[in-house]
Amino acid sequence: MTLVALPIFIPLLCGALSLLAWRSSLVQRLIGLVGTLALLVVSVMLLLAVREEGHIVMHMGSWQAPFGITLVADLLSAIMVLLTGMMAVAVAIYSLATTSESYERFGYFPLLHLLLAGVAGSFLTGDIFNLYVWFEVMLVASFALLILGGERSQMEGAIKYVTLNLLSSAIFLSAIGLLYGLVGTLNMADIAVKLAQAEHTGMVDVIAVMFMVAFGIKAGAFPLFFWLPASYHTPPVAVSALFAGLLTKVGVYALFRVFTLIFNHTPEFTHQLLLWGAAFTMLTGVLGAAAQFEFRRILSFHIISQIGYMLMGLALFTPLALIGGVFYITHHIIVKTNLFLVSGVAHRLLGSYDLKKLGGLYKERPFLAILFLIPALSLAGLPPLSGFFAKFIIIRAGIEAEAWVVTGVALLVGLLTLYSMIKIWAEAFWKAVPEGVSTERLTGREKDPQLVWMYLPIVLLAACTLLIGLYGQPVYELAEASAAQLMNPSGYIEAVLGTSVSGGAE
């Protein structure tokens, strides 16, 4: 039972400790490593326990549901927390090489821990207002991380980021208010019960769409995704890797949670809307990427198009589609974080993210080239990598549901993704080093002992991608079990409310 709260408390504790040690860079780094490793261990234990028991529930402060705040871990939550732990460790190792002293003085590590606490809290809470609070914790930390360094471009990106995210928070909060007015409870399981009994007026659909818009903005879905490509390429690369892996996926997770548990009564309206949103998200994201020529901007636009696939999995709302959605999230978080980490190495070696100023990486660093190809081709969906199976499941679900347009878009977008990845490959890795670019570091004349800390997480994550591709059965089974839980929310409701389902009709 304790397990479900530890993924939140460990980062909080580490954040407080590293804030106390803000003068000592060594201690902060140590806490960063130990803390994220502890988070990873706890999240693995949580996943194992959840697989055993189905749901793990803790009523914080012993205030029983639906009155207190409940933490709930079902399989989806546990998978997400595990991925959070993995990315946290990867980024903490990577930060050893990339974090400068000035960032550390601005509180890089405490903010990192706070961000992780916010992300883990969002995944584990069973209370819709508490979800809002964790979103804010996460956003406050991400605002500060985004402007670390204080460059002009960062400020510009941060303003767009802050504005759209505040808008989203405002809509989210109003939607919570309206929902509370309707059912008089904030506990998500209790909301689901009350809403099923309540008379269905148009109001429910209005609230559902408000949640869709609010979480859609956070997830980077069409049409309000502009903040994402405007800001993700500006902060230090370790930060953008963490953002790319986790932040939008919190929005996706919230959509999965809310639209399977609470708003599952009128799928012909809400999920149809989501489906069109998914199609446009995929298309605009991939087309936006085709027009870009900056390493991290291309990757940022691809986050958007990939979000489309996950939403498609949710919107089709069949068991197979949900399996695909969960599988896709798992694959995407690992791959996308890894691609950002690779872009950081390229920047380290050649001093730029601009594809025009990159080149020659394949000739001088073939190992790095392979490490890039694994996640890049996985993102495009080539077998036998993880992305192939993720896309395969989703597209198969689309065909089975006879959603031809969206399925066609998904196939086309896969092709265009390959185009973008090949563009990066051809420019950054294949072509010769452009004139006027210093190759001191690239050819290794200038030794860089810290580079190993950058390679280590990339190798580990690439290994995960390969493993999921070649030996995907366990992941598929996990996704299958979690989809079964999502399709049948009564298990979740019973786990949270316990006996009070039968006991109190009030």
Binding site: M1, A5, F9, A16, L19, H59, M60, G61, S62, P110
Partner: protein
């Protein structure tokens, strides 16, 4: 920088600050069942330090506080997180309130408890946060 040290501000600050600090502790301790608590008490205490800062400048205020405001935030967070753990020893969920009443002479009881520890954490974190802002603003003005 504002014009330092008009006589009235000097005298008032020196007189008011201890009163405000005492009042903040009063608010902190009374907060569990009655209006008050860590947040509002922290604001009152931060107000006291800010007043001192307006009168005597940021350097003297730093000397007076002894601890860097940023460190205070850390301690505050730490107290808050720690207060979640004692419940575990009893096998109860996180943050479940634990009460250890200590009888004092004269029939009064001092209710030591995890909510109090949590409140102290909030108190410190609020003072730390507000003072970090105020000191940074005052010092950026001096440059």
């Amino acid at each position: 920088m504002m014009k330092p040290g008009t006589l009235i501000l000097y005298a008032a600050a020196r007189f008011l600050m201890p009163l405000q600090l005492m009042f903040s502790v009063f608010l902190l301790l009374r907060g569990h069942d009655e209006p008050g608590g860590g947040f509002i008490a922290g604001l009152v205490a931060a107000g006291a330090f800010s007043l001192y800062l307006f009168a005597f400048g940021s350097e003297l205020t730093r000397d007076l506080m002894r601890i860097d405001p940023r460190t205070l935030i850390g301690w505050g967070l730490l107290f808050g997180v720690i207060s979640a753990f004692p419940a575990l020893l009893q096998g109860q969920p996180f943050l479940t309130a634990q009460w250890w009443p200590i009888p004092l002479p004269g029939g009064v009881e001092f209710k030591l408890s995890t909510p109090l520890i949590f409140d102290i954490g909030v108190y410190l974190a609020v003072i730390g946060t507000v003072m970090t802002f105020v000191v940074a603003l005052a010092e950026s003005e001096q440059v």
